[in-house]
């Protein structure tokens, strides 16, 4: 799927944080909310519909019966719904509120700071997870279109509430005042610029599958049974144990016939039996330890 839904781009960034410093990031978020003037830069950007930062501590991953992971990091999930391209967004972030960004990712491991921009972009892209399904209820309108539409709607409703008792001349004057006050907010919704030919082609290529499943008379949702043991365990074990000498001989004969030469494995010098490795001083580290 695509990170795009109409004019909105859905960004997801998952960054690791050392548990000892997670509380600092949490405090920084809370103090920025407690002092709302610190968010004026973010509000001033004017192209973010909704965004969120979610701190997921090591013990906060929902447990529903899956094996428990032995994690050494907390994680921060950042999700944003913004207008414009990825590059424009990161540029605007770094140019507009570099200090704020550095505070919001303060605890993230290896965060390179927002200036200079290239390492910052590399960091975001390296930790970004693409969106698999993205829905936007207002795909034709940007965030500013929506705010201006809300203002116009509010003004129109106020005029409509008083229209009954007003003469045509008064209404005409009200119309003129309304038009002057909202002349900057009469945008027209439309399609987003095509991000790439591939994105447009992907939409077209999904048509058959989408209609075949969810269209009229479609097959409906995929509800396929899962086979937990598609190959019997005994077969798997037998194949790895390599015990069937008869089969091995047959395979060797087939290979010899194909190659037209006898195997030279018997002619090869015999290797000495390897001596057993000395026991390790400490237990081997497992990847998820």
């Amino acid at each position: 799927m695509s990170n795009l839904a109409g004019k909105a781009y859905g960004m997801n960034v998952v960054t690791p944080m050392r548990p000892g410093v997670t509380w600092i990031n949490n405090f920084l978020f809370m103090i920025s909310r407690a002092l709302p003037s610190t968010l004026s830069g973010l509000l001033g950007l004017g192209f973010i519909h909704f965004a969120r930062w979610v701190i997921i501590r090591r013990d906060q991953w929902p447990q529903l019966g899956q094996p428990r992971a032995n994690l050494s990091n907390d994680y921060m999930l950042f999700c944003s719904n913004f207008n414009g391209t990825w590059d424009q967004y990161i540029d605007a972030f770094a140019d507009g509120i570099p200090g704020g960004l550095d505070l919001f990712w303060y605890s993230s491991t290896k965060y390179p700071n927002s200036i200079p921009i290239t390492p910052f972009k590399n960091y975001i892209r390296a930790n970004q997870v693409d969106t698999n399904y993205y829905y936007n209820a207002t795909p034709g309108s940007g965030q500013r279109d929506i705010k201006l539409a809300l203002k116009l709607s509010h003004d129109l409703a106020a005029i409509a509430a008083k229209a009954q008792g007003q003469s045509d001349a008064q209404l005409a004057a009200a119309f003129e005042r309304l038009l002057i006050a909202n002349q900057g907010g009469l945008g027209s919704p439309g399609y987003a610029p095509v991000a790439s030919c591939d994105t447009a082609a992907a939409d077209r290529n999904r048509a058959d599958a989408e209609l075949g499943r969810w269209g009229e008379g479609g097959a409906g949702p995929i509800e396929a049974e899962r086979d937990l043991q598609p190959v019997a365990a005994a077969v798997v074990i037998a194949s790895t144990a390599n015990k069937d000498d008869g089969e091995r001989a047959a395979i060797r004969a087939a290979v010899t016939a194909t190659l037209g030469s006898a195997p030279l494995t018997d002619a090869a010098p015999k290797l000495a039996e390897p001596t057993p490795a000395p026991p390790a001083d400490k237990p081997r580290e497992t990847p998820d330890a």
């Binding site: 909105a8 690791p16 809370m30 407690a34 698999n132 119309f175 499943r213 086979d227």
Partner: protein, 341 residues
């Protein structure tokens, strides 16, 4: 509570997928054979083929709107599959400290592995009650009533989902998978919001007194040390030995109080933007387009007719009536009288 802000619920969940075994299903495209794949691959395919909003020429031609458009509270939602978190390399460390401590930089640091893929689900939906009472349970029950087949299809391989049979069960399941949103952000304020900051004077009060006492003690100590005992006594600090400890205690106490005060204040939701829920947004977009068309038409007409025409416009578009005429969710633009299609 940070899940709720500006009269919106910021729902975040991580749903674990049991990615064991294989799944067979019939292909709808290509050679129409049986496809064998891992469960998470099927989840990806389901998400790929779930109808999006009518947001491009191609999706408009398909003509199937997203199932989420059946709900009039959902602004944005997304599903994101996380197979494994990214590893950003070895932690930063100081070269001098490494040299002194003889740190072996070739010794690898542990790399996190999660034991199964997760589906991250985030939703931004309107609250019916600004206090958020009954949410998000109410929302999920609503959603189940309009798109249960799609939801079952997405979550069918998730741990514990086999126990979900109805809307109430689905809501309970999703609440079990919920992770609290730490920092929500929403900006549909068309008038600047009136947000009350925490009192900085209040924050500074107790630690400030503590710091002053510590400074006072320091000054008294210097005066005493320089032999100006009379000056220390004059200032009332002749018996000052308790003061640095009291100052230090007040400083620590004040910082602890400030920390929890900031956490509490930060968790308080910002006030709602008046009339900015999805139904108002859709109505606003409809009015924006209708009014633009109307204003353009009036440019060429006699100004003496504007009043009567505007009255007709208001009667037709009903600005205060959210139920209609309005724009449906998940489309590019409203269909207005006189449109070609």
């Amino acid at each position: 509570m940070p899940n709720i802000d500006v009269s919106t619920y910021f729902f975040t969940a991580a749903v674990p997928v049991c990615n064991e075994g294989i799944v067979e299903h019939r292909s709808l495209v290509g050679e129409k054979g049986i496809i064998k794949s891992s469960p998470i691959h099927v989840v990806r395919e389901i998400l790929e083929t779930l109808p999006t909003a009518l947001q491009s020429h191609a999706t408009e031609e398909i003509g199937l709107n997203s199932p989420f458009s059946r709900n009039l509270r959902t602004h944005f939602t997304r599903f994101v599959i996380l197979e494994q978190p990214y590893f950003n390399g070895r932690d930063h460390s100081n070269a001098l400290v490494n040299a002194v401590a003889n740190t072996d930089l070739l010794q690898p640091q542990p790399v996190d592995q999660i034991t199964c893929p997760y589906i991250f689900w985030t939703i931004d939906f309107d609250l019916l009650d600004p206090s958020g009472a009954g949410e998000p349970r109410r929302y999920f029950e609503e959603l189940w009533s309009v798109m249960a087949p799609e939801l079952k299809s997405i979550f069918q391989y998730c741990y514990g989902f086999d126990k979900v049979t109805d809307g109430a069960g689905f809501a309970t399941y999703m609440i079990d998978c919920q992770i609290e949103t730490t920092m929500p952000f929403h900006d549909y304020w068309y008038v600047p919001p009136k947000l009350t900051p925490i009192s900085t004077a209040g924050l500074a009060l107790i630690p400030g007194v503590g710091v002053l006492m510590l400074l006072g003690s320091l000054v008294a100590a210097i005066l005493g040390w320089t032999g100006w005992q009379w000056a220390a006594g004059f200032a009332g600090w002749s018996g000052w030995s308790w003061m640095p400890w009291a100052g230090l205690a007040l400083l620590i106490l004040g910082l602890v109080i400030d920390y929890y005060w900031v956490l509490w204040k930060g968790r308080q939701p910002y006030p709602a933007s008046p009339g900015a829920d999805l139904r108002n947004v859709l109505k606003g977009l409809y009015l924006q387009q209708a009014f633009t068309r109307f204003a353009m038409a009036q440019q060429r007409s006699d100004p003496t007719t504007w009043g009567a025409e505007f009255r007709k416009f208001l009667a037709t578009t009903k600005p205060a009536d959210l139920s209609g005429p309005t724009q449906p969710p998940g489309v590019i633009r409203s269909k207005l009288p006189g449109d070609a299609r």
